[in-house]
Protein backbone atom coordinates (compact mmCIF):
# COMPACT_ATOMS: atom_id res chain seq x y z
CA UNK A 1 0.00 0.00 0.00
CA UNK A 2 1.45 3.35 -1.01
CA UNK A 3 1.58 6.44 1.12
CA UNK A 4 -0.79 9.16 -0.12
CA UNK A 5 0.48 12.74 0.26
CA UNK A 6 -1.30 15.94 -0.75
CA UNK A 7 0.67 19.09 -1.62
CA UNK A 8 -1.50 22.10 -0.85
CA UNK A 9 -1.28 25.78 0.13
CA UNK A 10 -4.49 27.79 -0.04
CA UNK A 11 -2.81 30.67 -1.79
CA UNK A 12 -2.02 30.30 -5.47
CA UNK A 13 1.36 30.70 -7.10
CA UNK A 14 3.50 29.58 -4.17
CA UNK A 15 4.98 26.59 -5.99
CA UNK A 16 2.78 23.58 -5.25
CA UNK A 17 3.13 22.14 -8.76
CA UNK A 18 6.90 22.66 -8.95
CA UNK A 19 7.36 21.02 -5.58
CA UNK A 20 5.07 18.11 -6.50
CA UNK A 21 7.01 17.52 -9.73
CA UNK A 22 10.42 17.69 -8.09
CA UNK A 23 9.44 15.64 -5.05
CA UNK A 24 8.11 13.01 -7.44
CA UNK A 25 11.33 13.01 -9.49
CA UNK A 26 13.53 12.79 -6.38
CA UNK A 27 11.55 9.94 -4.84
CA UNK A 28 11.71 8.14 -8.19
CA UNK A 29 15.49 8.72 -8.29
CA UNK A 30 15.75 7.14 -4.85
CA UNK A 31 14.14 4.04 -6.34
CA UNK A 32 10.55 4.50 -5.22
CA UNK A 33 7.61 3.87 -7.52
CA UNK A 34 5.72 7.15 -7.64
CA UNK A 35 2.39 8.31 -9.02
CA UNK A 36 1.57 12.01 -9.29
CA UNK A 37 -2.07 13.07 -9.54
CA UNK A 38 -2.96 16.50 -10.92
CA UNK A 39 -6.13 17.54 -9.06
CA UNK A 40 -6.14 21.02 -10.59
CA UNK A 41 -8.83 20.17 -13.10
CA UNK A 42 -9.40 22.95 -15.61
CA UNK A 43 -6.09 24.67 -14.81
CA UNK A 44 -3.65 21.79 -15.15
CA UNK A 45 0.09 22.53 -15.09
CA UNK A 46 1.79 19.46 -13.70
CA UNK A 47 2.05 17.84 -17.13
CA UNK A 48 3.79 20.94 -18.52
CA UNK A 49 6.29 21.13 -15.65
CA UNK A 50 7.07 17.44 -16.21
CA UNK A 51 7.22 17.91 -19.99
CA UNK A 52 4.49 15.33 -20.59
CA UNK A 53 1.71 17.41 -22.15
CA UNK A 54 2.14 15.78 -25.56
CA UNK A 55 1.82 12.25 -24.18
CA UNK A 56 -1.59 12.54 -22.55
CA UNK A 57 -4.28 10.30 -23.99
CA UNK A 58 -6.76 9.92 -21.14
CA UNK A 59 -7.36 12.18 -18.16
CA UNK A 60 -8.81 11.97 -14.66
CA UNK A 61 -12.26 12.79 -16.07
CA UNK A 62 -12.14 9.73 -18.35
CA UNK A 63 -11.39 7.64 -15.26
CA UNK A 64 -14.25 9.22 -13.31
CA UNK A 65 -16.62 8.62 -16.23
CA UNK A 66 -15.57 4.98 -16.30
CA UNK A 67 -14.09 5.18 -19.80
CA UNK A 68 -10.74 3.75 -18.67
CA UNK A 69 -9.22 2.39 -15.49
CA UNK A 70 -6.84 4.62 -13.47
CA UNK A 71 -3.87 2.48 -14.59
CA UNK A 72 -4.76 2.92 -18.26
CA UNK A 73 -4.83 6.71 -17.91
CA UNK A 74 -1.34 6.94 -16.39
CA UNK A 75 1.46 8.58 -18.36
CA UNK A 76 5.00 7.30 -17.77
CA UNK A 77 7.77 9.91 -17.44
CA UNK A 78 10.26 10.13 -20.31
CA UNK A 79 13.39 9.84 -18.16
CA UNK A 80 12.26 8.43 -14.82
CA UNK A 81 10.73 5.09 -15.67
CA UNK A 82 9.19 4.59 -12.23
CA UNK A 83 7.41 7.97 -12.22
CA UNK A 84 3.83 8.20 -13.46
CA UNK A 85 1.30 10.99 -13.91
CA UNK A 86 -2.47 10.86 -13.76
CA UNK A 87 -3.22 14.02 -15.73
CA UNK A 88 -6.09 16.43 -15.21
CA UNK A 89 -8.41 17.50 -17.98
CA UNK A 90 -8.19 21.10 -19.11
CA UNK A 91 -11.73 21.24 -20.50
CA UNK A 92 -13.52 19.79 -17.48
CA UNK A 93 -14.28 21.56 -14.19
CA UNK A 94 -13.55 20.64 -10.60
CA UNK A 95 -17.26 20.09 -9.95
CA UNK A 96 -17.26 17.09 -12.30
CA UNK A 97 -15.17 15.13 -9.77
CA UNK A 98 -16.25 14.33 -6.23
CA UNK A 99 -14.06 13.57 -3.20
CA UNK A 100 -15.50 10.02 -3.31
CA UNK A 101 -14.30 9.60 -6.92
CA UNK A 102 -10.79 10.66 -5.90
CA UNK A 103 -10.83 8.27 -2.96
CA UNK A 104 -11.85 5.39 -5.22
CA UNK A 105 -9.14 6.22 -7.79
CA UNK A 106 -6.40 6.50 -5.18
CA UNK A 107 -7.53 3.27 -3.55
CA UNK A 108 -7.24 1.45 -6.85
CA UNK A 109 -3.79 2.91 -7.60
CA UNK A 110 -2.18 2.67 -4.18
CA UNK A 111 -1.28 -1.07 -4.16
CA UNK A 112 0.91 -0.49 -7.23
CA UNK A 113 2.91 2.44 -5.86
CA UNK A 114 5.16 3.39 -2.96
CA UNK A 115 4.03 7.02 -3.04
CA UNK A 116 1.01 8.79 -4.49
CA UNK A 117 1.39 12.57 -4.50
CA UNK A 118 -1.63 14.74 -5.20
CA UNK A 119 -1.11 18.28 -6.52
CA UNK A 120 -3.91 20.36 -5.03
CA UNK A 121 -5.36 23.43 -6.74
CA UNK A 122 -5.29 26.82 -5.02
CA UNK A 123 -8.33 27.72 -2.96
CA UNK A 124 -10.34 25.93 -0.31
CA UNK A 125 -13.35 24.87 -2.36
CA UNK A 126 -14.30 21.69 -4.17
CA UNK A 127 -10.89 21.19 -5.79
CA UNK A 128 -9.19 21.38 -2.40
CA UNK A 129 -11.62 18.83 -0.91
CA UNK A 130 -11.04 16.52 -3.88
CA UNK A 131 -7.28 16.66 -3.37
CA UNK A 132 -7.27 16.33 0.41
CA UNK A 133 -9.88 13.62 1.02
CA UNK A 134 -7.85 10.62 -0.20
CA UNK A 135 -4.59 11.74 1.45
CA UNK A 136 -3.15 10.61 4.77
CA UNK A 137 -0.34 13.19 4.94
CA UNK A 138 -0.21 16.82 3.88
CA UNK A 139 2.61 19.10 2.79
CA UNK A 140 1.57 22.74 3.12
CA UNK A 141 3.60 25.08 0.91
CA UNK A 142 4.10 28.70 1.92
CA UNK A 143 6.35 31.56 0.89
CA UNK A 144 7.84 33.76 3.64
CA UNK A 145 5.17 36.48 3.30
CA UNK A 146 2.24 37.18 5.61
CA UNK A 147 -0.60 36.68 3.07
CA UNK A 148 0.81 33.29 2.16
CA UNK A 149 1.36 32.27 5.78
CA UNK A 150 -2.12 33.43 6.73
CA UNK A 151 -3.61 31.26 3.96
CA UNK A 152 -1.41 28.35 5.01
CA UNK A 153 -2.73 28.73 8.55
CA UNK A 154 -6.30 28.66 7.24
CA UNK A 155 -5.55 25.53 5.24
CA UNK A 156 -3.98 23.79 8.25
CA UNK A 157 -7.17 24.60 10.18
CA UNK A 158 -9.24 23.02 7.42
CA UNK A 159 -6.95 19.97 7.33
CA UNK A 160 -7.54 19.58 11.06
CA UNK A 161 -11.28 19.63 10.35
CA UNK A 162 -10.67 16.86 7.79
CA UNK A 163 -9.18 14.76 10.59
CA UNK A 164 -5.46 15.41 9.98
CA UNK A 165 -3.50 15.47 13.23
CA UNK A 166 -0.70 18.03 13.44
CA UNK A 167 2.00 15.34 13.13
CA UNK A 168 0.71 14.47 9.67
CA UNK A 169 0.93 18.07 8.42
CA UNK A 170 4.35 19.42 7.44
CA UNK A 171 5.31 22.85 6.14
CA UNK A 172 7.53 23.59 3.14
CA UNK A 173 8.93 27.12 2.91
CA UNK A 174 9.43 28.03 -0.73
CA UNK A 175 11.09 31.02 -2.43
CA UNK A 176 13.23 31.72 0.60
CA UNK A 177 15.59 34.68 0.10
CA UNK A 178 18.45 34.39 2.60
CA UNK A 179 19.96 37.81 1.81
CA UNK A 180 16.64 39.47 2.71
CA UNK A 181 16.41 37.50 5.95
CA UNK A 182 19.92 38.64 6.81
CA UNK A 183 18.84 42.26 6.40
CA UNK A 184 15.79 41.58 8.57
CA UNK A 185 13.43 42.26 5.67
CA UNK A 186 11.96 38.79 5.46
CA UNK A 187 10.46 36.35 7.94
CA UNK A 188 12.83 33.62 9.04
CA UNK A 189 12.05 29.91 9.00
CA UNK A 190 11.84 30.09 12.79
CA UNK A 191 9.23 32.90 12.63
CA UNK A 192 7.10 30.76 10.34
CA UNK A 193 7.46 27.70 12.54
CA UNK A 194 6.25 29.75 15.50
CA UNK A 195 3.27 31.22 13.64
CA UNK A 196 2.06 27.91 12.25
CA UNK A 197 3.25 25.83 15.24
CA UNK A 198 4.09 22.98 12.88
CA UNK A 199 7.25 21.16 11.85
CA UNK A 200 9.07 22.54 8.82
CA UNK A 201 10.11 19.72 6.52
CA UNK A 202 12.06 21.74 3.94
CA UNK A 203 13.30 25.20 3.04
CA UNK A 204 13.69 25.82 -0.69
CA UNK A 205 15.53 28.96 -1.84
CA UNK A 206 14.28 31.30 -4.52
CA UNK A 207 15.95 30.28 -7.75
CA UNK A 208 15.87 31.26 -11.40
CA UNK A 209 16.73 27.68 -12.30
CA UNK A 210 13.17 26.72 -11.43
CA UNK A 211 11.69 29.16 -13.96
CA UNK A 212 13.96 27.86 -16.71
CA UNK A 213 13.11 24.29 -15.77
CA UNK A 214 9.35 24.94 -15.84
CA UNK A 215 9.65 26.33 -19.35
CA UNK A 216 11.73 23.47 -20.69
CA UNK A 217 9.67 20.76 -19.02
CA UNK A 218 12.64 19.19 -17.24
CA UNK A 219 12.29 19.56 -13.43
CA UNK A 220 15.42 20.96 -11.75
CA UNK A 221 15.96 17.77 -9.80
CA UNK A 222 16.68 15.97 -13.11
CA UNK A 223 19.24 18.61 -14.05
CA UNK A 224 22.66 17.48 -12.84
CA UNK A 225 24.13 20.99 -12.62
CA UNK A 226 21.28 22.50 -10.61
CA UNK A 227 22.11 23.85 -7.17
CA UNK A 228 18.69 23.59 -5.57
CA UNK A 229 18.20 20.00 -6.73
CA UNK A 230 19.89 19.10 -3.42
CA UNK A 231 17.07 20.82 -1.49
CA UNK A 232 14.45 18.74 -3.26
CA UNK A 233 16.48 15.61 -2.60
CA UNK A 234 16.61 16.50 1.11
CA UNK A 235 12.82 16.91 1.06
CA UNK A 236 12.35 13.53 -0.62
CA UNK A 237 14.63 11.83 1.91
CA UNK A 238 12.71 13.37 4.81
CA UNK A 239 9.41 12.26 3.26
CA UNK A 240 10.84 8.72 3.21
CA UNK A 241 11.55 9.04 6.91
CA UNK A 242 15.31 9.55 6.69
CA UNK A 243 16.82 11.89 9.24
CA UNK A 244 18.27 14.81 7.25
CA UNK A 245 18.84 17.90 9.40
CA UNK A 246 17.05 21.07 8.26
CA UNK A 247 20.40 22.92 8.39
CA UNK A 248 21.44 21.05 5.24
CA UNK A 249 18.85 23.06 3.31
CA UNK A 250 20.78 26.22 4.03
CA UNK A 251 24.03 24.91 2.48
CA UNK A 252 22.74 26.01 -0.93
CA UNK A 253 22.76 29.56 0.37
CA UNK A 254 26.41 29.62 1.34
CA UNK A 255 28.13 32.33 -0.62
CA UNK A 256 29.81 31.56 -3.89
CA UNK A 257 33.30 32.81 -4.73
CA UNK A 258 32.07 35.75 -6.85
CA UNK A 259 29.74 37.05 -4.12
CA UNK A 260 32.54 36.88 -1.57
CA UNK A 261 34.74 38.92 -3.93
CA UNK A 262 31.96 41.47 -4.50
CA UNK A 263 31.42 41.83 -0.77
CA UNK A 264 35.17 42.32 -0.27
CA UNK A 265 35.31 45.10 -2.85
CA UNK A 266 32.20 46.86 -1.59
CA UNK A 267 33.74 46.84 1.89
CA UNK A 268 36.98 48.32 0.48
CA UNK A 269 35.01 51.10 -1.20
CA UNK A 270 33.17 51.93 2.00
CA UNK A 271 36.27 51.69 4.16
Amino acid sequence: MGEVIVVTSGKGGVGKTTITANLGCCLAKLGEKVCLIDADIGLKNLDIVLGLENRIIYTLIDVVNGKVSPQEALVRHKIMKNLFLLPASQIATKEMVSPEDMKAIVKELSPNFDYIIIDSPAGIERGFRNAVTPASKALVVTTPELPSISDADRVVGLLENFGFSDERIKVIINRFKPHMVKKGEMLTAEDIRHTLSLEIIAVIPDSEEVIVASNTGVPVSLNGSSKIAKNFENLARRVRGENVPLENDFETFSKGFITTLKDFFSKLKRG
Binding site: L146, D153, R154, G157, T195, S197
Partner: protein, 210 residues
Protein backbone atom coordinates in the same frame (compact mmCIF):
# COMPACT_ATOMS: atom_id res chain seq x y z
CA UNK B 1 -32.70 65.34 9.65
CA UNK B 2 -32.25 61.57 9.26
CA UNK B 3 -29.55 59.38 10.74
CA UNK B 4 -28.71 55.72 11.30
CA UNK B 5 -27.99 54.42 14.80
CA UNK B 6 -26.66 51.01 15.81
CA UNK B 7 -28.61 49.50 18.70
CA UNK B 8 -29.30 46.23 20.44
CA UNK B 9 -32.12 45.58 17.99
CA UNK B 10 -30.03 46.33 14.94
CA UNK B 11 -29.91 49.37 12.76
CA UNK B 12 -32.41 52.15 13.50
CA UNK B 13 -33.24 54.93 11.08
CA UNK B 14 -33.97 57.98 13.21
CA UNK B 15 -36.15 60.65 11.62
CA UNK B 16 -36.12 63.85 13.60
CA UNK B 17 -39.02 66.29 13.81
CA UNK B 18 -39.58 67.80 10.37
CA UNK B 19 -41.77 70.17 8.40
CA UNK B 20 -41.69 68.89 4.86
CA UNK B 21 -42.09 65.17 4.12
CA UNK B 22 -40.49 65.42 0.66
CA UNK B 23 -37.24 66.69 2.20
CA UNK B 24 -37.18 63.74 4.59
CA UNK B 25 -37.74 61.26 1.77
CA UNK B 26 -34.91 62.82 -0.23
CA UNK B 27 -32.63 62.79 2.81
CA UNK B 28 -33.34 59.08 3.37
CA UNK B 29 -32.51 58.28 -0.26
CA UNK B 30 -29.24 60.22 -0.04
CA UNK B 31 -28.23 58.60 3.24
CA UNK B 32 -28.88 55.06 2.02
CA UNK B 33 -27.00 55.72 -1.23
CA UNK B 34 -24.07 57.14 0.76
CA UNK B 35 -23.77 53.92 2.73
CA UNK B 36 -23.32 52.06 -0.55
CA UNK B 37 -22.63 48.35 -0.14
CA UNK B 38 -23.42 48.35 3.55
CA UNK B 39 -26.97 47.17 2.86
CA UNK B 40 -28.02 44.08 1.00
CA UNK B 41 -31.39 44.00 -0.68
CA UNK B 42 -34.12 43.03 1.82
CA UNK B 43 -32.12 44.03 4.92
CA UNK B 44 -34.36 44.88 7.85
CA UNK B 45 -34.07 48.15 9.73
CA UNK B 46 -36.17 49.76 12.43
CA UNK B 47 -37.71 53.16 11.96
CA UNK B 48 -37.90 55.74 14.70
CA UNK B 49 -39.92 58.88 14.19
CA UNK B 50 -39.53 61.76 16.58
CA UNK B 51 -42.84 63.33 17.53
CA UNK B 52 -44.72 60.39 15.99
CA UNK B 53 -48.15 61.70 16.97
CA UNK B 54 -47.78 64.71 14.71
CA UNK B 55 -46.45 62.67 11.78
CA UNK B 56 -48.46 59.48 12.12
CA UNK B 57 -50.25 60.02 8.79
CA UNK B 58 -46.85 60.11 6.99
CA UNK B 59 -45.70 56.72 8.28
CA UNK B 60 -47.14 54.63 5.41
CA UNK B 61 -45.39 56.86 2.85
CA UNK B 62 -42.09 56.66 4.76
CA UNK B 63 -42.29 52.87 4.96
CA UNK B 64 -43.18 52.64 1.27
CA UNK B 65 -40.26 54.89 0.39
CA UNK B 66 -37.79 52.80 2.41
CA UNK B 67 -39.11 49.64 0.78
CA UNK B 68 -38.59 51.35 -2.57
CA UNK B 69 -34.89 51.63 -1.64
CA UNK B 70 -34.71 47.85 -1.18
CA UNK B 71 -34.92 47.76 2.62
CA UNK B 72 -37.60 46.32 4.87
CA UNK B 73 -38.91 48.08 7.96
CA UNK B 74 -39.02 45.50 10.74
CA UNK B 75 -40.51 47.73 13.42
CA UNK B 76 -41.46 51.28 14.14
CA UNK B 77 -40.08 52.64 17.40
CA UNK B 78 -41.50 55.59 19.25
CA UNK B 79 -39.72 57.92 21.62
CA UNK B 80 -36.69 60.13 21.19
CA UNK B 81 -33.22 59.16 19.90
CA UNK B 82 -31.71 59.83 23.33
CA UNK B 83 -33.06 56.46 24.39
CA UNK B 84 -31.22 54.80 21.55
CA UNK B 85 -27.88 54.35 23.22
CA UNK B 86 -24.91 53.59 21.01
CA UNK B 87 -23.41 51.57 23.81
CA UNK B 88 -25.85 48.72 23.53
CA UNK B 89 -24.46 47.09 20.38
CA UNK B 90 -24.60 43.37 20.91
CA UNK B 91 -23.51 40.29 19.02
CA UNK B 92 -25.81 37.36 19.30
CA UNK B 93 -24.16 34.17 20.47
CA UNK B 94 -25.81 31.19 18.87
CA UNK B 95 -25.42 27.45 19.39
CA UNK B 96 -23.58 27.97 22.63
CA UNK B 97 -22.75 25.18 25.00
CA UNK B 98 -23.91 25.99 28.49
CA UNK B 99 -21.25 25.82 31.13
CA UNK B 100 -18.94 27.91 33.25
CA UNK B 101 -15.77 27.85 31.22
CA UNK B 102 -14.31 26.26 28.16
CA UNK B 103 -10.67 25.24 27.88
CA UNK B 104 -9.17 24.71 24.44
CA UNK B 105 -5.72 23.12 24.33
CA UNK B 106 -4.63 23.97 20.80
CA UNK B 107 -3.72 26.85 18.54
CA UNK B 108 -6.77 28.47 16.96
CA UNK B 109 -6.02 28.98 13.29
CA UNK B 110 -7.30 31.41 10.69
CA UNK B 111 -10.93 30.63 9.88
CA UNK B 112 -11.55 28.71 13.10
CA UNK B 113 -13.85 30.06 15.80
CA UNK B 114 -14.41 29.26 19.44
CA UNK B 115 -17.93 30.14 20.57
CA UNK B 116 -18.95 29.73 24.18
CA UNK B 117 -21.49 31.33 26.47
CA UNK B 118 -19.13 31.46 29.44
CA UNK B 119 -15.42 32.13 29.90
CA UNK B 120 -12.89 30.84 27.36
CA UNK B 121 -9.30 29.80 28.06
CA UNK B 122 -6.97 28.97 25.16
CA UNK B 123 -3.69 27.14 25.69
CA UNK B 124 -2.05 28.01 22.39
CA UNK B 125 -1.99 30.94 20.03
CA UNK B 126 -4.90 32.76 18.49
CA UNK B 127 -3.71 33.32 14.94
CA UNK B 128 -4.70 36.11 12.56
CA UNK B 129 -8.13 35.46 11.10
CA UNK B 130 -9.28 33.30 14.01
CA UNK B 131 -12.06 34.47 16.28
CA UNK B 132 -13.28 33.93 19.83
CA UNK B 133 -16.87 34.77 20.82
CA UNK B 134 -17.28 34.48 24.57
CA UNK B 135 -20.16 35.28 26.88
CA UNK B 136 -17.65 35.96 29.63
CA UNK B 137 -13.90 36.64 29.84
CA UNK B 138 -11.18 35.37 27.51
CA UNK B 139 -7.70 34.23 28.49
CA UNK B 140 -5.18 33.29 25.82
CA UNK B 141 -2.16 31.49 27.25
CA UNK B 142 -0.16 32.29 24.13
CA UNK B 143 -0.04 35.01 21.51
CA UNK B 144 -3.36 36.56 20.53
CA UNK B 145 -3.41 37.96 16.98
CA UNK B 146 -7.01 37.21 15.96
CA UNK B 147 -10.35 38.76 16.86
CA UNK B 148 -11.62 38.51 20.43
CA UNK B 149 -15.18 39.33 21.45
CA UNK B 150 -15.79 38.99 25.18
CA UNK B 151 -18.56 39.85 27.61
CA UNK B 152 -21.32 39.18 25.10
CA UNK B 153 -23.51 37.85 27.93
CA UNK B 154 -21.70 39.02 31.02
CA UNK B 155 -21.28 42.62 29.88
CA UNK B 156 -18.49 45.04 30.54
CA UNK B 157 -17.13 43.23 33.60
CA UNK B 158 -15.51 40.70 31.30
CA UNK B 159 -11.78 40.96 30.67
CA UNK B 160 -9.42 39.81 27.94
CA UNK B 161 -5.96 38.60 28.90
CA UNK B 162 -3.12 37.19 26.81
CA UNK B 163 0.60 36.52 27.14
CA UNK B 164 1.01 38.72 24.08
CA UNK B 165 -2.06 40.81 23.32
CA UNK B 166 -1.88 41.88 19.64
CA UNK B 167 -5.46 41.33 18.46
CA UNK B 168 -6.86 42.48 15.13
CA UNK B 169 -9.99 43.57 16.96
CA UNK B 170 -11.18 43.42 20.55
CA UNK B 171 -14.71 43.78 21.80
CA UNK B 172 -15.91 43.76 25.39
CA UNK B 173 -19.72 44.00 25.60
CA UNK B 174 -20.52 46.97 23.34
CA UNK B 175 -17.05 48.50 23.33
CA UNK B 176 -14.72 47.94 20.42
CA UNK B 177 -11.00 48.61 20.21
CA UNK B 178 -8.17 48.16 17.74
CA UNK B 179 -5.54 48.83 20.40
CA UNK B 180 -2.70 46.40 21.02
CA UNK B 181 -0.74 45.63 24.14
CA UNK B 182 2.97 46.13 24.57
CA UNK B 183 4.72 43.47 22.52
CA UNK B 184 5.77 40.45 24.51
CA UNK B 185 4.26 41.71 27.76
CA UNK B 186 1.38 39.72 29.26
CA UNK B 187 -1.50 42.19 29.25
CA UNK B 188 -5.11 42.54 30.28
CA UNK B 189 -7.81 44.54 28.51
CA UNK B 190 -10.85 45.72 30.43
CA UNK B 191 -13.50 48.40 30.30
CA UNK B 192 -12.70 51.52 32.27
CA UNK B 193 -14.51 54.82 31.90
CA UNK B 194 -16.55 53.74 28.88
CA UNK B 195 -13.61 52.51 26.83
CA UNK B 196 -11.31 49.54 26.58
CA UNK B 197 -7.93 50.02 28.23
CA UNK B 198 -4.96 47.68 28.04
CA UNK B 199 -2.64 47.33 30.98
CA UNK B 200 0.44 45.19 31.58
CA UNK B 201 -0.32 42.33 33.97
CA UNK B 202 1.80 43.79 36.77
CA UNK B 203 0.18 47.24 36.63
CA UNK B 204 -3.42 46.10 36.71
CA UNK B 205 -5.94 48.55 38.09
CA UNK B 206 -9.52 47.27 37.94
CA UNK B 207 -12.26 49.68 38.95
CA UNK B 208 -13.79 47.74 41.79
CA UNK B 209 -17.55 47.62 41.68
CA UNK B 210 -17.94 45.54 44.84
Amino acid sequence: MVDFKMTRDGLVLVVRDYQNLEDVLNAISTRVTQMGDFFARGDRIALMIENHVKHSQDIPRLVAHIRGLGLEVSQILIGSPQEVSEKTMKVEVRNVVEGVGKIVKKTIRSGQTVIHSGDVVIFGNLNRGAEILAGGSVVVFGKAFGTIRAGLNEGENAVIAALDLQPTLMQIAGFVSHAKGQEGVPSVAHVKGNRIVIEPFDKLDFERSD
